[in-house]
Assembly symmetry: D2
Homo-oligomer: 302 residues x 4
C-alpha cells in the first residue's frame, strides 16, 4: 500500500496532536484513527472520525440526561437485549467515517448499500493513479461448477500465469493510453471525464464513506460472509476488527445474534422440533424444496 | 424548563471531565455540549455529540489524507462554492446528535423529516411527566383570514383568557385521569400503552435526534422560516445559533445561498430581466397566475 | 367506520370504471382497490394504487426484456430463493399506496418506519372530525406485571367501566373545547394549528402511505407480531391479508422465512446441536444469560 | 441499439395485450410502455411500469376519498402551488420503473442518487455482452481549460482519430481477453466475478431503476443540466420527454420552478434590487467573491 511520504507525514501530524473534548471517547478507536490499514495489494481502510461508544447506545435507548451508564454489566445486558429483539434505533446513534481505497469493481458492489454518505475521488476532475488490483495466486479461482455466482478451485500453472499476464498487461496498456489521450503535449488532450472510460474495473479509486453503526453492521453481515466475493470480504473482515475495538459490547452481540446466528424457516424449525422428539425427517415429509433441504442438511446433518 | 437537581448534576458531571481525542474538535460546539438550552415553556435542545467541523467538509470534498485545510480562506471559498452549486455530499460528512424536549404536536411535524435517526421516550414503557405546552399571551394567535394554514392577529382579552383556561384545565384533567387509570391502588391499573391515549397533543415528549449537516440545514431552511408554525420555529431558530457556532463558514454560506436566497421562476426571472431593460411588466404580460403574481409583487414591488 | 354517502359514492364511482392498461395487473389486488376495509372502531385501510405482481419480482431479478415469467413454478422457486437469501432488491420493485384512517397514537408508532412516502391530513389547514378510538371491552388490558412494555389481563367490572367513561368523556369535552376555541361566532377564533393541541392521542387522523414491498414486509414483520401493540397489529394483520391477495408467492415466502421463521443465536444453535446429539443443555453450560435462556426454553422446551 | 429479435418479440408481445384495471391510467405513459428508446450508441431507456398521474398528486395532497380531481384547471393550479412552495410529499406519490442500458461510467454517476431502487445485471453471475460506448466525433471533447470538471472544444483530425482507435482497440482486446480467461475449453476457466475486472468503464450494463416522481425530478434537475457530463445528460433529456408525457402538469411546473428557475443569493438579490432602483452595482460593492460575481454577470449582465 504505497502512501507517499507526504501522505504519511499528514497522517502522522494528525496523530501527533491530541485535543480536549467533552464528547464520548472510545480508546480502542482512538488507537485506530487515521492509520491506513492495508487491504488487498494497494487498498486501505482508515478511520477518519467516529461518534459514540457502547455507552452512547444505552444512553439513547434510555433517552437519558447523563452518560446513560449505570454499570458496564448493565449496559452489556441492555445491548444484547436490543440486538436480540431487533431494536435497531439505538445502534443508529453511533456513526463512523472511513477513508477507503478500493478497486472500482469492489466500489460498485459497496455502493449498493444506500444508507451511507459518500464522497468519491472524481475522475471527471482529477487524474487517477496507475494502481490496479492484481489477485494473489491463491485468490485466482476458477468459476464454480455448482453456483453461477461463486468460485471453484484455484487456477494452476500455465492458466494462472496467463490470467495474471493478461490482467497486468491490459491494465498497463489501458493506463498508457489513458495518459496519452489526456496528454496536452502537442495536442489538445481529451477531457478527463471521457478518457477515464478506457480504464478497467480493477483500477483503484478512493472515497470517504460515513455510516451509522446499525447500517454498518448490516453491511458487514452481508459482506463479511462466505457468500460475498473475496475482494469485498477482505475489507469487511478488517472493518469487523475495527468495530470490535470501537464498540466491544455491540460487536459481541452482533456476532452472537447476527453473524453466527442461524435462521430457521417455518419448515426448518418444525423439522428440528420433530427430530428433537425422536422422529425421522426426510425431504419428502419436511415440506421443503430440494434446494432448501440441501441447505438444511448442510447445516444440521442428515 | 424544570430539570431536576439530579439531571442538572448529571449534565454538570459530563461537562466537568474533558478527555483527550485525536478527532476534529469544534471549540464553538464544545461550549454548547450537554447544556440544556430552553425553548418554549418546558422544552429544551441539548447537543449530545457531534462529528466534524468546517475543515472536515473540505477534507471530504478533496478526499484528502490530512486535515484537508490549506488555509481558512481557501476553505471558506470552497464551502461557498459547494453550497452555491448544490454539491451536498461534503456537508453530509458532519453529524450532530441532539436531545430535544418538545410538545407532541411539534414532534409530529418534526418527524416528517425522515433522513435522521430517532430514539423517542416510550409511553408504552414509561409514564410521561405532567408537563404541557401553554402558549404565552403574545403567541395566542387567531386563525388567519387569508391563509388556511396560518395565524392572524393575537387574541385579546376575554377570548385569550378563555383559551388559556381551557388549555390548562383540559391538560390537568386529562393528566389526572391518566394517572387514575394507571393507578394500581385498589385496582389492576390500565396498561401504559393504552392510558397514554387520553393525553392531549401539547404534552411534552423527548427524543434523541441525530442528523447529518446537509439534512439538518434542509430541516432548518423549512422550519426556521416565516411559513413554519411558531412553535417549531422556536426550536429551529435556536438550532441555527448552535450550527453557527459549530461550523461558522458552512452556516454563513447556508444563510447567503439558502435562507436569505431568492428563487425566481422562469417567468419571474424573465419579468426582472424586462424590468432591468426598462419595460413595464404586469400580471397580464408576465405569464404568471394571480397568486404567483401577488407573491412576486410582495418580493419585488409593483 | 362511518364513510359519508358522498365518500361512498366517490369510491363506487372509481370502482365502476375499468380502464385499459398494458401494465402488470394483479387480479387479487384489483378486487381490493378503493374499498375501505374497516379496522378498530372508526379506522380503515384502502388500497389506492399498486405497481407490480409476483412476476414483476422475477422480471427485475432477471433484468429481463419481457414478462420475466418462464413458468409459475419457476417463479415461485426463485421468489423463495430470493427471500431465503435476503436478496431484497427485487422485492423493492413492487410498490403500493394505501389510504389509512388511524388514531394518532398508532400513527406515531407507524411513522417511525421511515422508508415510505406519507401525506397526512393537515390539522394546521383543516378541522379534524369528532372521531376517537375507544377500545372494545376485550382490549381493555391491565399493565403487564412482567413486561414494562406489555399488557396483562383484561380489566373487569367497575374499573373497566370507569376507564371507558373517562376516555369517552375526556374525548368529547376536549373536542367541545376545540370547537369552541375555533369558533368565529362573536370572537376571532383561535388558529387551527394551535387549537388542535387540545385533542387527545386517540383522535383519528388520515394519511396516504406509499411503500415498496420489501419495506412493507419489514413493517409487517415487526407490527403483525405478538410484541406489537394490539391497535397497530389490527392494521398490520389486515394488510397481511391484502398482500397475500396481491403477491401470493412473495407473501407465502415471507410467512415461511420471516413471520414463522425462528432465529437462533450462536449459543442457541449450539444448544440445539448438542441436544440433537443427545446431550443435556442447561443455562449454566449454554453460555446464555438468564433472560435469553428463558426465551430459549419458551421456544424449544426444557 | 441492437435488441435481438427475441427481445423485440418479447416487447411486442407485452404491448399487444391490454388488460383491465381500476387504477389511474396515464395515456401518454401507456404509449411509452416497454418500447426501448435509444440513447447513445447502444443504450436505451424503457418504461416498465408506473403508478399515478397528475390527478394522483392532487388526490394525495388533499388526502381525498375519490379521484381528487375537481377540474383540470384546479389541479394545475394546485400542482404549481405545491412545486413553488417545495411541498414535495405529494410528488412522491407517483412512481416509475425503468429498464436502462448504459455504460458503466454513466452508471457510476447515476447510482450516487440513493433514493431509488435498483436491480443491476450481475457480472458475478452472468457474462457481459461485447458492447462498448464509443463517442461520436462531435462529442469527442478536449479538457476544458477553465473548468477542471468540464469539456472544451471538439478534438480534430488525427488526434480525434487516434482517440477513437485507442478506445475501440482497447475495448475489443479487453473483451477478447475476458472471453479467453472465462473459456473452459481446455482449461478450468476464471471465475466470472474475477474476469470482469479486465473490462473498461465504457462497457454497457443494464438495470431496473425505480424511483418516485419527486426524486426523479431532483435527479433530472441535476443531470439534464449543462454542468452534467454529456453522456448522462443524454439519458436525462430523454427521461424529461417521458415525464412530460406521463404527468404534463407536474412537468410544466418543474420546468418553470426548477429547471428554468434562477436562484439568487442574498447578495445577488440585493444587487438586483439596487439595480432596479437605478444604482450601479460592482463586484466591490456587491459583497460577492470574484467567482460568484463572474457567475452573476453571466446571468444578469454587467
Amino acid at each position: 500500500m504505497p502512501l507517499t511520504p507526504e501522505q504519511q507525514a499528514e497522517i502522522e501530524s494528525e496523530r501527533a496532536t491530541p485535543r480536549q473534548t467533552l464528547r464520548a471517547v472510545s480508546p480502542g478507536m482512538e488507537a485506530r484513527l487515521y492509520t491506513a490499514h492495508p487491504v488487498l495489494d494497494h487498498g486501505f481502510v482508515r478511520v477518519i472520525d467516529y461518534m459514540g461508544d457502547d455507552a452512547a447506545i444505552c444512553q439513547a435507548a434510555r433517552v437519558s440526561y447523563g452518560k446513560g451508564t449505570r454499570s458496564v454489566q448493565n449496559d452489556e445486558g441492555l445491548i444484547r437485549y436490543l440486538m436480540r429483539h431487533w431494536h435497531s434505533t439505538p445502534f443508529e446513534m453511533c456513526e463512523v467515517k472511513f477513508h477507503v481505497k478500493l478497486p472500482v469493481f469492489v466500489a460498485r458492489q459497496w455502493i449498493r448499500h444506500r444508507t451511507a454518505n459518500v464522497n468519491e475521488y472524481s475522475a471527471r476532475y482529477s487524474i487517477l493513479d496507475r494502481e490496479f488490483y492484481i489477485p494473489r495466486a491463491e485468490h485466482l479461482a476458477a468459476q464454480s461448477t455448482q453456483n453461477n455466482q461463486g468460485r471453484g478451485e484455484v487456477l494452476q500453472g500455465a492458466e494462472a500465469q496467463r490470467v495474471l499476464d493478461l490482467l497486468r498487461e491490459d491494465a498497463m496498456r489501458s493506463y498508457d493510453h489513458y495518459e496519452s489521450m489526456l496528454s496536452q503535449d502537442g495536442q489538445q488532450g481529451l477531457a478527463r471525464e471521457l478518457a477515464r472510460m478506457n480504464l478497467p474495473a480493477n483500477i483503484y479509486t478512493q472515497w470517504y464513506w460515513k455510516v451509522d453503526l446499525h447500517n454498518l453492521l448490516h453491511f458487514l453481515r452481508l459482506r463479511a460472509d462466505s457468500h460475498a466475493q473475496y475482494e469485498i470480504r477482505a475489507y469487511a473482515d478488517l472493518m469487523c476488527e475495527i468495530v470490535a475495538d470501537w464498540v466491544p459490547a455491540a460487536f459481541a452481540a452482533f456476532r452472537d445474534y447476527r453473524m453466527d446466528a442461524v435462521s430457521l424457516s417455518a419448515q426448518g424449525a418444525e423439522a428440528l422440533r420433530r427430530r428433537l422428539a425422536g422422529q425421522v425427517v426426510t425431504q419428502e415429509n419436511s415440506g421443503m424444496g430440494a434446494r432448501e433441504w440441501r441447505e438444511f442438511v448442510e447445516a444440521w446433518g442428515e
